[in-house]
């Protein structure tokens, strides 16, 4: 059977686009919610929502792409428990990348502020206006975000660990323009 040795260019592009979007949206979210009400705050909230919805969309596209293009297998000889951890980690990341923007969208709906993607495409309200629920969703959104942050840090640490210590080419498979086989 022909096992792919690397991610497709599309998968790589989608991965890094998602990463970049998350790396923008997260600090933006942390920063903006402490601000006093100002035009700047309204702008940043909108940008944050636009990026968040973009992440949601990218992740859906990624999942569809992934279902049609098998990702390369984990390095041969990887201990079973590490394989399970790696798979669990990836599942957790996908789950959170869906749950985080969805919880934000839900929160926005609950606070009665519809999301208009890039100020152009109005998205439907997922739930009716309910301030109390909004406050709860705010907590949920925050907790999910910090969980995602933790997983992203572990994910990055694992990639670096594989690259520097295991030297098994795991990181290279996801780097753009480096599609050639790492020499072994």
């Amino acid at each position: 059977m022909n096992q792919p040795t690397s991610y497709t260019r599309t998968a790589i592009l989608l991965h890094w686009l998602t990463a970049a979007a998350i790396l923008c949206a997260f600090p933006l979210g942390v920063y903006m919610h402490e601000l006093q009400l100002s035009p700047r705050k309204l702008q940043l909230y909108s940008y944050h929502k636009w990026i968040g919805i973009t992440v949601l969309l990218l992740v859906v596209v990624r999942l569809i792409w992934r279902s049609r293009h098998r990702p390369p297998p984990l390095p041969a000889g990887m201990p079973r428990c590490q394989q399970i951890t790696a798979h669990g980690m990836h599942h957790g990341l996908y789950l959170l990348m869906l749950a985080v923007p969805l919880s934000g969208w839900l929160m926005s709906s609950a606070f009665g502020i519809p999301v208009v993607w890039f100020g152009v495409i109005p998205l439907p309200d997922l739930i009716g206006k309910d301030k109390q629920l909004g406050e709860l969703l705010k907590e949920v959104h925050e907790s999910l975000n910090y969980t995602l942050l933790l997983l992203v840090l572990l994910h990055a640490a694992a990639a670096i660990q594989h690259h520097i210590f295991e030297r098994d080419g795991t990181l290279l498979r996801m780097l753009p323009f480096l599609k050639q086989e790492p020499k072994s």
Binding site: L37, P39, L42, Q43, P114, G119
Partner: protein, 190 residues
């Protein structure tokens, strides 16, 4: 209001004894004054909990219709407490100096099919501008329902100036919407 009652009485008189009903009693709990503003491309609805309305409207003689809506701006609900506090400040309504906004309609033009246009003056933050407010009427269970809106440009009244003057963030256009329920004039007084 005395003058309004007098006016109503005159109107009723003018309309003749067996003429169509003049509507002039506002049912407060079935009336609303809301607004729609837009920020970052998002339309947001808010409202006012306190306002007083005087209207006289004779469906048989709409041209003689008169209305006055006075809004207690401190009763604003923008949907968020942050924004509620913000709009009371100097840059927005400056409530300390200008606690109310007022719309006085002085003429009504029938457009046909129960559609009308009230022209009048809007006063916000001490500035008065001419406005035209389209509205529709509907008689339901003996009451007259009036639904309309007053399109305004907030910056013409200096509402949201300073840093807020940038209309790319908060649009200049604001719609003040009114839904009024009127019952017939309490049969000719005196």
């Amino acid at each position: 209001m005395k003058t309004m009652t007098l006016l109503a009485a005159l109107l009723a008189l003018a309309a003749g004894p067996s003429q169509a009903t003049v509507f002039e009693s506002v049912v407060a709990e079935k009336s609303m004054v809301n607004f729609v503003a837009r920020q970052m491309g998002v339309s947001l609805e808010g409202g006012f909990k306190k306002f007083s309305v005087q209207v006289t409207f004779d469906p048989g003689k709409p041209e003689t219709g008169k209305a006055q809506i006075e809004i207690d701006l401190s009763s604003i609900d923008t949907g968020s407490s942050d924004a509620n506090d913000e709009v009371k400040g100097k840059a927005w309504f400056n409530l300390r100096d200008y606690p109310t906004a007022k719309f006085v309609a002085s003429g009504v033009k029938p457009l046909g099919a129960n559609r009308f246009e009230a022209s009048g003056k809007m006063t916000i933050k001490g500035k008065t501008r001419d406005v035209v407010a389209p509205f529709t009427t509907k008689v339901e269970a003996g009451a007259l329902l009036i639904d309309g809106s007053i399109p305004i440009l907030r910056l013409q009244y200096g509402v949201g100036d300073g840093v807020w003057a940038d209309t790319a963030t908060v649009a200049d256009e604001v719609q003040v919407r009114f839904h009024l329920t009127l019952t017939a004039a309490p049969s000719k007084k005196k």
